[in-house]
Every structure is written in C-alpha cells, then in structure tokens.
C-alpha cells in the first residue's frame, strides 16, 4: 500500500528546527509516534492517509529534529506541538498518540482542552497511580534487555530489529531516539506528577487502547488512566503487548477507524 502524497518539511517551533511529515489529504489527524518511532513505516499510516491529512512531527531529539538543552520533558514538547498546530492554523482536530506520543498528546489536551476534537491514546505513559514503593511502569532501564522485550511484546520475535542491515544514518536515529527518550523520561520515571490532577480537563471524546499482554504498562494501568479522563472508553486487544497497532493491526484498525470516522 502506498501513500498518495507525502510532504516532508522542516518547521521552526520556539526556535527549534523540527522535522515534519504530512501524509495524504482530508481531515487533519495529528499522529504522535512512540519513543521508537516504529509507526513511521506502518501500513497504518497509509491507511489513515486515505481519509486524513496525517501530521507526523518528530519530537526534539527524535528522528532528525534538533534538541536544545532547555527541552527537558514531555511537558515542554506538548507546548511545542500546541505551537505547531497554531502555525498550521489547526484547532479542534483529531489526534492519536502512541506510548510516549500518547503522554505528549494527553499533556496537550490538558493544557488546551479545545485543541482536539477526538483523542486516541495507545499504551500511553505519563501517570503514576501508586505509592512510592509501587512500580506502576516497569523499569526498562534497570532491567535485562530480554526481560524488557518480554514486557513490550506478546511475541518478542516481532520486536527484534536487524540493526546490522541498517545504515549509519538509520542507526544514528535509533541511537538519538533512545538517548532522547531517557533525557526526557528518566526522572520522574515515565510520568509527570502533575498530570494525574489535570486529566479531568480533557474535553475531547477519548478512546484508550491497550494490549492485553502489555507488561510495561499493564491493562490495569490503562484502565485506571481511562477512568480519570471524563467519558473515556477503554478497549483492550488480545495477543498484543505495548504496541498493539503493530502486533494486531487488524483488530487495532477495527477499533480505531470507527472512532475516527
């Protein structure tokens, strides 16, 4: 499946040089990638681009976007993306965010409740529900890589990436994404302590999608997340880990597309 048109450009936001891809035509849809940016080459993008203009920015330090020192967490990135929509003269559009991208989309919706008409969150980070001794989100940085893969994927083989077949440019992006994810989410680990108290401000109809086998952020966590967003609907997908859109694309599409239409 090919995308009809892709417009790749760069845009300056708060003085930062940001890369931006615009796929297809139609009602605008902001798509915020996961920390690994695995969404970029998925058939899902082409699928969405048949009905939407899919707007895919790379966050500072991800892909080929610059990363100045003053950007320190997803809260900063959310303000950048609000500025992006101002510059594109877009308000009240649909948005979907995956993992870290879901956290950023949530931050945006709490800061400006009018910015989204619909909001789909997939395996989003950003909240801590438990007490100091509780592990809400498994620690992917102090844990053995094999364990992290088992948490992330229902079928860990799907998560294997062939780095030896990639050129230095592509590997550089993998390394930048890994580094920037840690830069922004190390401490507090994978959450903004304030965000839980702001979720009630979200006005857009919200769909929260979770893999039933997500070991990083469990479906219990996902359900608790949805419960704090007024009117949000929670859907889980069987035989899927942290990236249900990659492991079960058909089941994922059947939930997502009717919501966006």
């Amino acid at each position: 499946m090919t995308i009809a048109t892709t417009d790749r450009r760069r845009i300056e936001l708060a003085g930062i040089d940001i890369e931006l891809a615009l796929h297809g035509e139609g009602r605008p849809l902001l798509l915020l990638s996961s920390e690994e940016q695995l969404e970029q080459d998925l058939p899902l993008i082409a699928d969405l681009a048949r009905r939407h203009q899919v707007i895919v920015p790379s966050a500072p330090g991800f892909g080929r976007s610059d990363r100045p020192d003053w950007i320190s967490n997803p809260d900063d990135i959310a303000y950048l993306y609000l500025e992006l929509l101002d510059k594109l003269d877009l308000q009240g559009i649909a948005a979907i965010g995956f993992s870290l991208g879901g956290w950023i989309a949530t931050e945006m919706a709490t800061k400006n409740p009018a910015v989204f008409s619909k909001l789909a969150l997939v395996s989003a980070y950003g909240i801590k529900f438990g007490g100091p001794y509780d592990v809400d989100i498994q620690d992917m940085w102090t844990s053995h890589p094999d364990k992290v893969a088992a948490w992330k994927w229902h079928d860990a083989d799907k998560g294997k990436r062939d780095f030896l077949s990639m050129d230095d440019d592509a590997l550089g992006i993998v390394a930048r994404n890994t580094e920037s994810f840690a830069r922004f989410c190390w401490d507090p680990y994978m959450h903004n302590p304030k965000l839980k108290r702001r979720l009630h401000r979200i006005k857009a109809p919200t769909l929260v999608i979770w893999g039933e086998n997500d070991g990083l952020t469990s479906p219990v966590y996902g359900k608790a997340y949805a419960d704090l967003i007024p009117g949000a609907r929670f859907e889980s997908i069987a035989a899927a880990g942290h990236y249900p859109h990659i492991e079960q694309p058909d089941a994922f599409g059947k939930i997502l597309h009717p919501f966006l239409d």
Binding site: D69, W141, T142, S143, H144, P145, F163, L164, M166, D168, L171, G172, V174, A175, R176, T178, E179, S180, F181, A182, R183, W186, D187
Partner: protein, 388 residues
C-alpha cells in the same frame, strides 16, 4: 614521578561468580557479612597507613551498590586518613559530583579534609562509570554537563572569600553561598579529572590546569589521551601544576612465581561481572559510539580488558608485575610508550589478595622500585600556545 597506593576496598567473599549474574547494582546485600566487612575496612585502612609510612601517596575512590568496592563515601575515608597519616598526599579520585547533586556540600567536605590534613589533599572529580547511574538515578544523558557545572561551582566557592554569592545554574540553585571553612591550600587544592575516551573533556581539564587521570587502558590509547592533554595544557598555578596520571594493576614480588600468582589475584577486578543494561545506559556515550554499539563493535569501556591473559595485559601496560627490577623496567617502558606521565596510580590490592601479600608487594615497591623511577622527569605541556 609520584607513586600512589590504591585499593577499591573490595568485598570478595561472594558465592561462586558463575552463579551470579552481576556483582554490581543489583547483587543482594544478604551476600554481605557486616563482620567480615568490618575486618576488611580496618585492614584496608591499615594498609593505607603502612603505605604512608613507606613514603607512598594515598589514592581513594568510591562506588555504590557493588561488591567490587565498599568504600561508598571517599570523603569519609579521606577524613580518616587525613587524621591518621602524616606524610603522604591524599587524593580522592574522585568525587562523583554529577551523581551526588550538591556541589557545595562537596566543596565544604574537601575544604575540611584539606585543613585536617594541613594541605595534603588533591581533589578529583569523576563523571561516574555507567553502572553508578543506577544507584544515583542520575539522568545518564547529562552527566557531563552536571560534572562541569559542579566543578566550576566548587572552584568558585573555594575562592570566594568576601561573603555570599548567588548561583542559579541548570542543576544547582543556591542564593547565599559562603563557604566555611575554606581550603588550606591556595588558591585551592589541585583538581584531578578522570576520562577514558572524550578528548574534548580531556582538553578542557588541561586548559584549566587540572591533572588528568585514566585507568587500565591499552598504552596506545593512553598515549592518545595524554597527547591530547599535553596539547592543551595551561598552567593555571594550581598546587601540583597539572600533569597526567595512569592506573595499572601493580604487583611486586621476590620471585617470578610469586609475581605471577599475585598478578592473577589482581585480575579479579577485571573479571567483575555486571548485567548488560548496567554497562551502557541510554545516552551515557555519544550517538556515534552507540551506532558502533548497535553494530556490535562497542560493548562498554571495560569489556575490552575482560578475559584477557596476564601476558596480554602486561604487554598493554595494564598489569605490571615481577621482581623489583622487572617492575621498574615495565614502568619505564610504559612511561616511554605513552610519552611520559607524572603519577603512577597503583591498584596493589584486589579481590582475595591477603594483607600479608599486599604489604609485601607495596614494601618491595617502595624500597626497591620507587627509587628507580622517582626521578623520571615530569612531563611537560607540549603546546602551551595552543591552549591560549
């Protein structure tokens, strides 16, 4: 040439290493017996005091959550030695300033130890090895920035003698910094910095007149780093006058057989195990290094020395062992190979090495080797103009 005695203060009494996945970060403390630990602490301090009597200088470091090093607070150890020794210089190498988070507290501790020791303190700073990130929970992508902001603030605090000043930086905010006591030495103790690959950092240390130290690296890489240092050295008038320092494992013995036995005991340190996630936390090294890591060509800086034969380590200058004249010859060879250096930092104890064996080795070194290398000329900065 200044020679320094060093032990990491290991706790070696562990279950068989093949049954452990790691000796660092996550090894359960049930494997630590406080009674054995008490004996070890007192024994290691005894050895530092013997080293002081023998005319050696005293080097300390700290690590956290690891059986390889139970000195978890080098300032505490330095304070003990400041009071209990009389002659040797005491160097902390170093204060993990990026991980500790309060540079002013470090400045205070160092000033106090400098006064107790009557000016025998050298103050090292380290960025902290990768696995230290986890005990401190420091963001691994910004330890270099934290290091430099901290060092510059410590130096400013030591030398500001006219009352409080304000500092609102990236990582530290204090609005009334006014150090009591101030250091014994003027303008302040010699500053040391460690490094293993980042040439920009090395040149930055050289341009500030700091001593640059590196550990357990092949001699060709040491030369590359020391050349970088010498090309950018600037004499800023600090005590000690800058210079370079290298740490090999060193064992001096009465016979070749005893030398080899001692050398094998020292390599315990090189065989310390850790799980892969602790060796290269995200963003600890540059994107270019991590591109190489993704291709399998870079697996952490200490991995290159693991599982090597003692002959290989000897050839590389990482492990120096033999009878006194052999040890002196190996040090002179290393000195020539790396273009000269000023401080020989000797890890003379590691793992299970006994008190008796350690003391015999350091005594032979002090009496029969040190005189042979003492007068090796101090290395000179190669290109002062380049740093100006």
């Amino acid at each position: 040439m200044y020679a320094w005695h060093f032990t990491e203060m290991p706790y070696p009494h562990l279950p068989p290493l093949e049954t452990l996945s790691t000796m660092r970060v996550s090894l359960a403390s049930k494997h630590y017996d406080p009674r054995l630990g008490a004996d070890l602490y007192n024994r290691y301090f005894d050895e530092y005091m013997i080293a002081d009597d023998l005319g050696l200088n005293l080097l300390l470091n700290e690590h956290h959550q690891t059986a390889t090093c139970i000195d978890v607070a080098a300032p505490l150890s330095a304070a003990i030695l400041a009071r209990q020794t009389r002659k040797g210089r005491i160097c902390i190498l170093g204060n993990p300033i990026a991980n500790r988070g309060d540079p002013i507290r470090i400045a205070e501790e160092m000033a106090m130890i400098d006064c107790i020791s009557r000016g025998r303190l050298d103050v090292g700073f380290v960025r902290g090895v990768p696995y230290e990130i986890f005990a401190a929970n420091t963001n691994p992508t910004q330890t270099v920035e934290r290091l430099w902001e901290g060092i510059d603030l410590v130096a400013k605090a030591w030398t500001s003698t006219e009352g409080p000043f304000n500092f609102e930086g990236r990582f530290t905010h204090k609005r009334a910094i006014n150090l009591w006591p101030r250091p014994y030495q003027t303008p302040h103790p010699a500053i040391w910095l460690t490094g293993s690959s980042d040439l920009d950092n090395i040149k930055r240390a050289a341009a500030r007149g700091f001593v640059f130290a590196t550990f357990l690296q092949p001699h060709a890489k040491v030369k590359w780093m020391f050349d970088g240092y010498r090309s950018a050295f600037h004499d800023t008038g600090l005590p000690g006058g800058g210079g370079t320092a290298y740490m090999p494992l060193v064992f001096t013995a009465d016979s070749d057989a005893e030398a080899e036995a001692g050398a094998r005991e020292l390599t315990w340190y090189l065989d310390a195990k850790s799980e892969p996630q602790y060796r290269n936390p995200p963003g600890y090294v540059t994107v270019d290094f991590n591109v190489q890591a993704l291709k399998g060509a870079f697996s952490g800086r200490s991995e290159a020395m693991r599982k090597q034969s003692i002959e290989f380590l000897k050839e590389q200058g990482v492990l120096i062992y033999g009878k006194p004249d052999d040890v002196a010859q190996q040090i002179k060879r290393l000195y020539d190979l790396v273009g000269g250096f000023d401080h020989l930092l000797m890890m003379q104890q590691a793992g299970y090495m006994s008190h008796e064996r350690t003391v015999r080795s350091m005594t032979l070194f002090a009496k029969e080797v040190y005189p042979q290398i003492l007068d090796l000329p101090r290395t000179k900065p190669l290109n002062v103009a380049a740093a100006e």
